[in-house]
Symmetry: C2
């Protein structure tokens, strides 16, 4: 095992690449199977949850630390007052041009004092860039904040405006032009002065990427190349290495929710599927369960402060 020549090591590396893409395909197949198998159960669950007041607010109250760290007290208040449902969909599950890993978080809200929207949906696209990035990108979602109620302190609006301005520039390598946009400059400046300020969870709706935005077209092209390389490796042919990533650090200058795909994934892959377990862990639920002989339901629920600010829908 120690005596191995450079040519042989190279051959082993090519074999590993082939296996890696087989494993990737098998993983995608599992995501598809799981989604199909679980969909009817989650549909039934949604119907039951809809009849339990504050279900999702109580789940978010029990968030794992990686999500909880992004939820400010004012966000919890919004969840408690008006979050009606959360749904997770894999909207590209059967789309050969997309990825089964892509997912959307769809929040439904009762009428409230904060924003006009009754649905806020954030899509995370699993894409591949031509320079080797594999991960989630997203398009900023506009939240129609009511006057003086913007919990993101202007960040979701700024991200959305920059996005629109970038779209007007059109395709191609317009990075230099992007950086000259007034929307770019003002957001970058705001981000710089905001360093260290805790931002609202709702800012996640402005998230773009932990790398840079990758279009559907670029991703399809990159996957086609990857597939061709993978075929070549399978046939034992040599494949040119992908170049190293560009220095894309400056894209994070205008990222309003750096690393936003991480908590989003945790919500989609842990909190949402395991929501009943999170709900059961809630002190309110436990309080209710333990004391239900002694107290009417209203008693237990109302004693918990979260419960006092709910607007019936």
């Amino acid at each position: 095992m120690a005596d191995i020549g450079p040519e042989e090591i190279l051959a082993r590396f090519e074999e590993l690449s082939v296996l890696e893409s087989e494993i990737e395909q098998a993983e995608l197949e599992i995501i598809r199977t799981q989604y199909t198998l679980h969909a009817p159960i989650y549909k039934k669950r949604a119907a039951v949850i809809a009849k339990i007041p504050h279900f999702w607010a109580l789940v978010f109250e029990q968030s794992p630390p990686e999500v909880d760290t992004y939820i400010q007290p004012s966000d919890s208040k919004v969840f408690a007052e008006c979050l009606e449902s959360l749904d997770v969909t894999r909207f590209e599950i059967d789309d050969p041009k997309g990825s089964p890993k892509s997912f959307a978080l769809r929040f439904t809200f009762a009428p409230n004092d904060y924003f006009e929207d009754s649905v806020l949906e954030k899509k995370f696209y699993y894409r591949r860039s031509l320079d080797g990035f594999d991960g989630f990108v997203s398009e900023p979602v506009k939240i129609h904040w009511k006057k003086g109620k913007d919990l993101s302190d202007g960040l979701t609006d700024a991200a959305y405006k920059l996005w629109q301005a970038q779209q007007k520039l059109g395709n191609g390598d317009n990075r230099a032009a992007e950086k000259r946009l007034p929307e770019y400059k003002s957001l970058a400046k705001k981000m710089e002065s905001d360093v260290g300020v805790s931002t609202s969870f709702f800012t996640i709706f402005g998230f773009v990427s932990s790398f840079r935005y990758v279009s559907a077209e670029e991703s399809q092209k990159a996957r086609k190349i990857e597939k061709e390389n993978s075929e070549k490796r399978r046939r034992g042919e040599k494949v040119e290495d992908e170049g190293p990533n560009d220095d894309d650090e400056d894209y994070q200058e205008t990222e309003v929710f750096p690393g936003g795909d991480e908590p989003a994934m945790l919500i989609a892959e842990d909190m949402w599927p395991a929501a009943i377990r999170y709900f059961s862990k809630s002190p309110s639920t436990a309080l209710y369960t333990r004391e239900r002989q002694a107290n009417p339901i209203g008693g237990a629920f109302q004693r918990f402060p979260l419960m006092t600010c709910f607007h019936p829908s």
Copy 2:
């Protein structure tokens, strides 16, 4: 939605319980499908990996923080010198009395200066206790350390000896007798004086539970009761709540690797399946890949310190 009576809330809670067990069943089914679908690929992978020196040492070098925190420099040295393979099996995948979630980590080592064993296998049983614990338990594995080479500083031996003494006590509620065992007292004392000392990763072979040990018999009984309750709920009958957990904190007095199931799960569910990705992230691999035109393989590999201490098998 806000106007909901106590009886209705109760009914909704029962419905959630039924759904929770349906989701659990669907999850187990996915684990089975995944295992079957992936097994042949991982078998091929093992054959390729066996020809790449230090593959697993390089993977462990890239451990995520939750695992890395348990790996001391002396552990890395053992991995670099003699870890030959790592395999993960779900040994109860088709056992109706067991659980598809149970898994084993099987490490294979070249002859080395530290211990006599060529295989160290640690089994994590997914079990349920009669008082409501659901999680992993394990039996201490004896490591035959060579003289003066015990990286766990006596902890794996002490855990194994206590385990053997407990087995001799036989079944039944012998907790009081257990606590009177000299093996219990000496391990508890050692644990107390060891507080704050970093222990070797190899101590994980002495891990028992984050709760207390749960036997296969207790687990089968607990699952039978849970199944009956679940049937009752499905029929709309009321079910007695399980009692609250006993105060089992004192079991942690003799747990040599508290929370050991967490890094074990990460190894089984993340590092092992994604090993090729971890391997590719290694600086040694990158060094090799980038400089392969300029340097012979030996050059790049040997320049990396990890590579200097490998004993050919």
